[in-house]
């Protein structure tokens, strides 16, 4: 009996999270991405804060800042995709930080 109860709780937890994810997609429909992998509409623009400031805000949460010149512009693209997932960055933030890093990147 207790087992069934726990299964229900677990199912409810997972269902809630999936629902939250779906709701997020519906609430922000303009952000859906096209099938060709390109963003159909730009996400909410991060205003009033520069890419460098966003970099300082988010990267220092967990570790020392990496110098932009440590990696090339192309390498930063992969690294920022990794950090967007790992650090749960918003799409707009990660794009703005990436732009800053690429503008200062090494060869």
């Amino acid at each position: 009996m207790q087992h069934h109860k726990q299964l229900k709780y677990r199912g409810a937890l997972v269902a809630s999270l999936a629902l939250a994810a779906m709701l997020a997609s519906f609430i922000f429909p303009g952000s859906a991405q096209a099938g060709d992998g390109k963003t159909a509409t730009e996400p909410t623009v991060v205003q009033g804060i520069t890419g460098a400031e966003l970099y300082a805000v988010n990267c220092n949460r967990c570790h020392e800042e990496r110098f932009p010149k440590e990696f090339t512009a192309v390498q930063w693209t992969s690294l920022m995709l990794h950090m967007r997932v790992r650090a749960n960055l918003t799409a707009a933030e990660s794009k703005k930080i990436l732009k800053y890093l690429q503008s200062q990147s090494g060869n």
Binding site: V57, E64, V74, V85
Partner: protein, 461 residues
């Protein structure tokens, strides 16, 4: 004066002389002279004809040369236009993101960290190098929305195992290779990412921020050992901006194979081949079902589910806080004994120099023999960079002070408290020497190692 003109002039003079002679003079011209004169006239006529032909050829050549000059001028003008266009392009600022969008999409990057640890534990006559670790992370970006990432842990360390009765066996060195994580990440949209594979589980924040150069103390907080660190499964995660720029709500929800047990009985302990009595819970989990005689032995009955929600608020760069709540529940035996965990985590940055973070962890483990026992504890860690002093003594500016208090109750009768104090010397932003003293006290049958000095050189790449 050209040849053509000269010939005409000579011919004209000759004709004039002939005409000007009187008839009696003409009559006196001999036949031979007349013939000679006629021959000269014929010769001159041929020369005139030859020169006319040559003149016609020269005119054709001049015409061709004029055409070639015209073509050359056109080429020169075209080249000038191209040069002007190139100069204009060079003067225009380069937008790298646009270039990259049209560049080759596949890209491979190697990142990660490496550590070497020296330690001396109280009660031992001498210290020694305890561990060398190389932890590369492979990132392979398939396109803008798909990333494969895998983290390995190559570790050389003392292979000794301390049994519950305190004796130590198997003193050989071992090299271990561990797949820390390996996931395929797919950016579904701006707010949802799907991760599948061997995942670092978002129970608290430590599991995803434990790399040697990120974790500011060489070893992990004690109660973290009560949580599974990774699991095979699938996860949805993402972030939603809230309020002003930089603030966000984050979430993660996952299904994973979950934790397991050693013997599948659901008892709190099991006895190994050496006679040692050890906890039955296997937080390493399993990678699938294997059947033997229609019994799925030590494996769990079904998957576990879990997740984390958190809020991050930034006042300005280096001034922020984050709070999170996470948990997981699921059976760890085929007879549905449940393992559940809950974690509250928080961190705060007050200036570029001061950080305070910690976690409260509690777990519930159902057993056949002793009912449900609870294991858990908490840890609190603070760091302060002396760069804030802006000292003329540069060595001081590279120092960061570290302190941590952590405690754990394994739920099976053993309680441990530890206070750690030390420093980090930053050679660079990713190369650092960590030196700590850990004062540790135990109560119960399963004591942890004694107090120790630890040095660790960490490098992130």
């Amino acid at each position: 004066m050209n040849k053509f003109t000269k010939v005409f002039r000579t011919t004209g003079i000759a004709c004039a002389l002939l005409i000007s002679q009187s008839p009696h003079v003409m009559a006196q011209v001999s036949q031979d002279d007349f013939k000679k004169l006629a021959d000269q006239v014929a010769l001159l006529s041929q020369q005139v004809q030859t020169l006319q032909q040559k003149d016609a050829q020269d005119q054709q050549t001049i015409s061709k040369l004029k055409q070639q000059v015209g073509a050359t001028k056109e080429i020169a003008v075209d080249a000038q236009q191209k040069a002007t266009t190139a100069e204009e392009k060079l003067a225009t600022p380069v937008d790298l993101s646009e270039q990259l969008a049209s560049a080759a999409t596949h890209n491979f990057v190697l990142s990660g960290d490496a550590e070497v640890t020296f330690g001396r534990t109280a009660g031992f006559k001498s210290g020694g190098f305890q561990m060398a670790d190389f932890a590369p992370i492979f990132l392979y970006r398939a396109n803008e929305n798909i990333l494969f990432e895998a983290g390995f842990d190559f570790q050389l360390q003392n292979g000794s195992t301390q049994l519950l009765n305190g004796t130590t066996v198997n003193n050989a060195n071992t090299t271990g290779v561990n797949l820390s994580f390996a996931t395929i990440d797919y950016i579904v949209n701006n707010y949802v990412t799907l991760c599948a594979g061997e995942m670092l589980l978002p129970l608290g924040t430590y599991s995803e921020r434990s790399a040697g150069w990120i974790n500011q103390i060489p070893d992990q907080p004690l109660p973290v050992s009560m949580l599974p660190q990774a699991g095979i499964g699938a996860q949805l995660r993402g972030a939603i901006p809230v309020g002003k720029a930089g603030n966000e709500f984050t979430y993660a929800g996952y299904l994973a194979n979950g934790v397991s047990s050693v013997d599948g009985t659901g008892n709190s302990h099991y006895v190994d081949s050496t006679g040692a009595v050890l906890p039955n819970l296997d937080l390493g989990g399993n990678t699938g079902y294997s059947f033997s005689g229609n019994n799925n032995q030590n494996l769990n009955g079904s998957m576990s589910g879990g997740g984390r929600i958190a809020y991050f608020n930034s006042f300005k760069p280096h001034y922020d806080f984050e709070v999170g709540l996470s948990g997981q529940t699921g059976p760890y035996t085929s007879t549905h004994h449940y393992y559940s965990a809950a974690v509250v985590d928080a961190s705060i940055h007050l200036s570029p120099y001061f950080t305070l973070k910690g976690e409260y962890i509690n777990t519930w483990v159902q057993t056949t023999d002793i009912g449900t026992y609870q294991a858990g504890g908490f840890w609190l860690q603070g760091t302060y960079k002396l760069a804030s002093l802006n000292s003329d003594f540069s060595l001081l500016n590279n120092l960061e002070l570290v302190a941590r208090y952590d405690t754990v109750n394994d739920g099976l009768g053993t309680k441990t408290q530890r206070f750690t104090g030390g420093y980090i010397y930053h050679f660079s932003n990713t190369l650092m020497l960590e030196n700590d003293y850990e004062a540790l006290t135990n109560q119960g049958p399963n004591p942890l190692p004694n107090s120790a000095y630890i040095f660790q050189l960490s490098y992130g790449f």
